[in-house]
């Protein structure tokens, strides 16, 4: 399978990338690791006429603690590759859910290329890291011609391949609260280890997010509210599929996905609680 022809532009800075986006408009797509974009271009589900390669922007790859005390956040550069996040000592100490989930994306070869900014911008409802980010809370930092803005993760993923980002903006950073020793869990159901999840659930600090249960990654709000009321994990997990709208395909029908959402939510919450 061969993509449609396109023009290739390699940029060295965020400013160059934004200038290229402004110049080429909606026909342009940013290329980071390419492990979401190139497969759909090969299937010709996406036909951009210009690819702007941002993988050479070296100062977009980092993990660091920003600020002091309880308000401190962990900042992750959008160009950080999954295998870098998986092994990062700061991430492992400050927000261990995230490096764990980075290590569950695809397979080693995929993790060598894919970036957290790429999977965030792509907005596939089945993607691992957005599910973890949504459970953690925090923000997506965007940069555009008008400067920087932060969008809460709860408002960022709006639908299938749809986000709150404008075509002339790019993801430059992800910011998540430090969770330190707070328990967490991630449960992912796949047919083969390197597949996309049929359903996945991330749990941390009383929050639960689900992959592949709607047009975008979603929070299991009924479960979270039940936990806040003091319900048991088993009771709260039974509500995990409320308000979701899973699709059906050859791997799983809707009722099976709902079952998986409840089951995986219970397991993720139990892991987080250490039971």
């Amino acid at each position: 399978m061969i993509p449609s022809p396109f023009e290739y532009v390699k940029v060295r800075s965020v400013d160059e990338a934004l200038a290229a986006l402004t110049e080429h408009g909606e026909d342009a797509k940013l290329l980071a690791g390419g492990h979401s974009l190139l497969p759909i271009m090969k299937l010709r589900l996406a036909i951009p006429t210009v690819l702007i390669d941002i993988s050479g922007i070296s100062d977009l790859s980092y993990v660091r603690v920003d600020g002091d005390g309880p308000d401190a956040m962990v900042a992750i550069g959008a160009g950080t590759r999954h295998f870098e996040l998986e092994r990062d000592d700061v991430a492992r100490t400050e927000v261990p859910l995230l490096p764990h989930v980075a290590g569950r994306v695809g397979d080693p070869q995929v993790r060598h290329r894919g970036t957290i900014g790429g999977t965030t911008a792509h907005s596939d409802p089945a993607s691992d890291l957005p599910t973890a980010l949504l459970a953690l809370g925090g923000t997506v930092v965007l940069q555009g011609p008008g400067g920087r803005r932060e969008v809460p993760v709860t408002e960022f993923w709006t639908g299938f391949f749809e986000t709150a980002m404008s075509p002339d903006e790019m993801v430059v950073e992800l910011r998540v609260p430090r969770t330190g020793s707070i328990g967490w869990g991630y449960e992912k159901f796949t047919r083969r280890e390197n597949d996309w999840p049929i359903v996945a659930a991330a749990a941390v600090d009383g929050r639960v997010a689900l992959a592949n249960m709607a047009g975008s990654v979603v929070r299991a709000t009924a479960t979270e509210e039940a936990l806040a009321r003091g319900a048991s994990i088993a009771e709260a997990a039974e509500l995990a599929d409320q308000g979701t709208s899973p699709g059906a395909d050859m791997h799983a029908d809707q009722e099976y996905r709902r079952h998986l959402a409840r089951l995986l939510t219970r397991r993720a919450l139990e892991t987080a609680a250490g039971v």
Binding site: G34, L38, K42
Partner: protein, 167 residues
């Protein structure tokens, strides 16, 4: 556009279309046909090569993204006198292949596994090769081969070119 890519130690400049995949560049422009294209959708791992020290699936990388990179394919493993790389020797000794289609990608991915973990358990080998499918289902001997190669020392997790495999 022009790309300058070093493959198995040999640097060359070629004029390519931006949409040319690295797998097609290696096979058709460089004439190196060990790298197989199986699923063509980032699943099977048959097209795995080492780019700047990291195993990647070359069906999901553009040649233009590899401009300036060091690439090692299966052809770059054996010594100039034909002496097999320790991973190749172990695949042969342990009969780590049946039809052979997945083998070039499997060998390159396995080198990446040992680069990351020089003495893996069976389970760690299986997890490290989760991105490579063998349709003959010959996994037992493949795992055995990787563990045998690990006993040959650090060279089993390295490629012969100047680069070092990092992960």
């Amino acid at each position: 556009m022009q790309v300058s890519i070093t493959v198995n130690g040999e640097q060359r400049t070629d004029e390519v279309e931006p949409r040319l995949l690295l797998a097609h560049y290696l096979r058709e422009v460089r004439g190196l046909k060990a790298t197989n294209i199986g699923c063509d959708s980032t699943s099977c791992g048959a097209c795995t090569v080492i780019v700047d020290g990291l195993s990647v699936k070359s069906c999901t990388v553009l040649a233009v993204q590899s401009d300036g990179a060091q690439v090692t394919t299966l052809e770059g493993l054996a010594g100039p006198d034909g002496e097999l790389h320790p991973m190749q020797a172990a695949f042969r000794a342990e009969h780590g292949l049946q039809c052979g289609f997945c083998t070039p990608g499997m060998v390159m991915a396995a080198i990446g596994v040992l680069a990351d973990n020089p003495d893996p358990t069976d389970r760690e080998v299986r997890e490290g090769l989760e991105g490579n499918l063998c349709r003959c289902t010959g996994y037992h001997n493949i795992v055995r081969a990787v563990r045998t190669a690990a006993q040959a020392g650090p060279a089993a997790g390295q490629v012969p070119q100047a680069q070092e495999v990092e992960a």
